[in-house]
């Protein structure tokens, strides 16, 4: 079983990305959980969301304390939210930032694997404006998920809520996010 933690700010779509990841993992034949951490929910406040992914039925219902992968959607949370908490040196820290992995290592003191991607810029270039989707692309790439499977699921899920034009922008951002780290 793999455990993943998302850090974002309220309104940035970390919870949505977590749920999309669960949908994608299900399509791979996996068992999944996706849940946000609930506190006082305010736009802009730091939030965490979690995924569990497993080949077996997931029975555990406690919180995730020691994730293998941490995805930071908002670069300012490197300082504000202690994203390396509980992350072992074998783990992966994926950060939305224009900085290099070495710079992030210096900033956080984390000595495990650090991957960086400028998801905010990718989202801006694509016109979608939300960094959560290119971050999701980067994450599923890191997890080794098949691109076609993931893309189809993102398309399906976003199409339920968004107009075609916006879905296309997001799919473009997803693709660039995926390719940047593949």
């Amino acid at each position: 079983m793999k455990e993943i933690r998302w850090h974002g700010r309220g309104g940035q779509g970390a919870k949505t990305a977590s749920q999309l990841l669960a949908d994608i993992n299900l399509q791979e034949g996996k068992f999944v959980q996706s849940f946000p951490e609930y506190g006082p929910e305010r736009s802009g406040a730091p939030i965490r969301a979690y995924n569990r992914v497993s080949d077996e039925k997931i029975r555990v219902h406690s919180g995730v304390d020691e994730p293998e992968v941490v995805a930071v959607v908002d670069p300012t949370l490197l300082q504000a939210a202690n994203p390396t908490e509980g992350l072992s040196e074998d783990g992966v820290l994926l950060v939305n930032t224009p900085k290099s992995p070495d710079e992030v290592k210096d900033e956080t003191g984390f000595t495990g694997e650090v991957l960086t991607i400028d998801a905010t810029q990718i989202a801006e270039d694509a016109g979608s404006g939300y960094a959560n989707v290119p971050m999701l692309g980067a994450l599923v790439s890191v997890l080794g998920t098949d691109y076609e499977v993931a893309e189809a699921e993102v398309d399906k899920a976003l199409s339920k809520k968004l107009p075609d034009e916006i879905v296309e922008m997001n799919l473009q951002a997803f693709k660039v996010g995926y390719e940047t780290l593949s």
């Binding site: 749920q19 669960a22 949908d23 299900l26 399509q27 791979e28 034949g29 996996k30 068992f31 999944v32 959980q33 996706s34 849940f35 946000p36 609930y38 039925k57 997931i58 029975r59 555990v60 219902h61 406690s62 919180g63 304390d65």
Partner: protein, 391 residues
């Protein structure tokens, strides 16, 4: 690779879908965290024409249950959902719903009672309703919450039962967690629940009845005994409903509680709801180390299947009962039931009571492993233990 008909759904979504598939005549509800989305989803289904139900928006839970009682007495299939303070405010009418033998099915998204005010999970809300006369089912995951909501309908409407059924699911842990679940086809559910044919509908003006009147000392007692009798019929009916449901769904419900690696266990925990899932993981880990441990998870808490539970626990060395609510000045509600069930045997296991998870306090695998470790100590002192609480 595919996962069949499995979907990623929250507890809210599975319960709302169960309600959609049951297609009650009336749903009367008032929003409260962590229940709100159940009724939000359901209302959306109504607005989208996916289900033909009357949704009554009311000004409080007291009114919600009052509307439900009126609707059910009129002969309409009726459902609601609530949590915590909502259930507390509803409580006066919950007793009346039971005494009027209205087969209302209600979801309860378990949440701590105030105060201090807290929105997170424990069982203090549903446990406060344990003497109200409603049947109570506790689910471990979204799948069970879904399936119990469907079975509850049949159970509530069984002719020799006719009681409200409360289906509980742990707030946030189940309501807000997207997880893998599988829904039955709509048609299969509507065939399973069938048409509801109320026995004495208030709106049958050709055959007028009096419902909910004043009762003097000369009959009140007998009317309460009718509720006792109805409760006594629940276990058999539940087992019958399970069998029919298994035929329909391929599920394997086979009792009033689930046992997990219990048969040859020396040490056992008894636990309700989602934490039973976490405890199963611990049982597996300890079994791999050669420990003879097991678990019992009541599906049915009211009526409490004491005799049946006694049969499977009586030969154990030691049993820990984990309560997610307090009864101030006494032991936990689940402990009292298990302890009472085992009280008349010549020999019985050592019994211990633990309280955990109040107000959403997380409970970890290693803490449950610690409980099993405690049980191996034959000199363990008999006192309440509070898992993970600062003392």
């Amino acid at each position: 690779m595919s996962n069949g008909n499995k979907e990623v759904l929250t507890g809210h979504q599975v319960v709302a879908n169960a309600m959609r598939q049951v297609e009650p005549d009336v749903v009367a509800a008032y929003p409260i965290t962590p229940q709100s989305e159940i009724v939000e989803y359901f209302s959306q289904y109504v607005a989208d024409g996916k289900v033909d139900s009357e949704v009554i928006t009311v000004e409080s839970e007291h009114s919600a249950m009052s509307a439900c009682v009126g609707s059910a007495a009129a002969g309409a299939r009726t459902m609601t959902a609530t949590a915590s303070q909502g259930l507390a405010l509803m409580m006066e009418i919950v007793y009346i719903a039971a005494s009027m033998r209205t087969p209302i099915v209600m979801a309860v998204a378990n949440r701590a009672l105030s105060g201090p005010i807290n929105i997170h999970c424990d069982h203090s809300d549903s446990m406060a309703a344990r003497d109200s006369g409603v049947i109570q089912l506790y689910g471990e995951d979204a799948q069970e919450a879904y399936e119990f909501t469907l079975m509850a309908q049949r159970l509530a409407e069984s002719e020799d039962v006719l009681l409200p059924v409360m289906v509980t699911l742990d707030g946030f842990t189940l309501t807000h967690t997207a997880q893998v679940a599988e829904l039955l086809p709509d048609r299969a559910v509507s065939d399973f629940v069938g048409e509801y044919d109320a026995r004495y509908p208030l709106l049958d003006v050709e055959n007028p009845t009096t419902q909910g009147p004043f009762d003097m000392p000369d009959y009140y007692f007998e009317h309460k005994l009718q509720q006792v009798e109805a409760m006594e019929n629940v276990s058999d009916r539940f087992l019958e409903v399970q069998e029919e449901f298994n035929d329909l769904s391929g599920s394997s419900y086979d009792g009033l509680f689930e046992t997990y690696k219990l048969e040859d266990a020396d040490y056992a925990v008894v636990i309700l709801g989602s934490t039973a899932g976490t405890a199963k993981v611990v049982v597996d880990e300890l079994r791999e180390k050669g420990k003879k441990v097991g678990l019992l998870k009541p599906w049915l808490f009211r009526p409490f299947p004491g005799e049946e539970i006694k049969d499977v626990l009586v030969d154990k060395e030691a049993v820990a009962i984990l309560d997610r609510s307090l009864s101030f000045g006494s032991s936990g509600p689940l402990y009292l039931e298990v302890s009472s069930a085992l009280s008349d045997g010549d020999t019985k296991p050592r019994l211990y009571n633990y309280t955990y998870g109040l107000g959403g306090r997380d409970i970890k695998e290693d803490q449950i492993a610690g409980v099993f470790e405690d049980l191996e100590n034959p000199d363990l002192e008999d006192k309440m233990r509070y898992i993970g609480a600062r003392q």
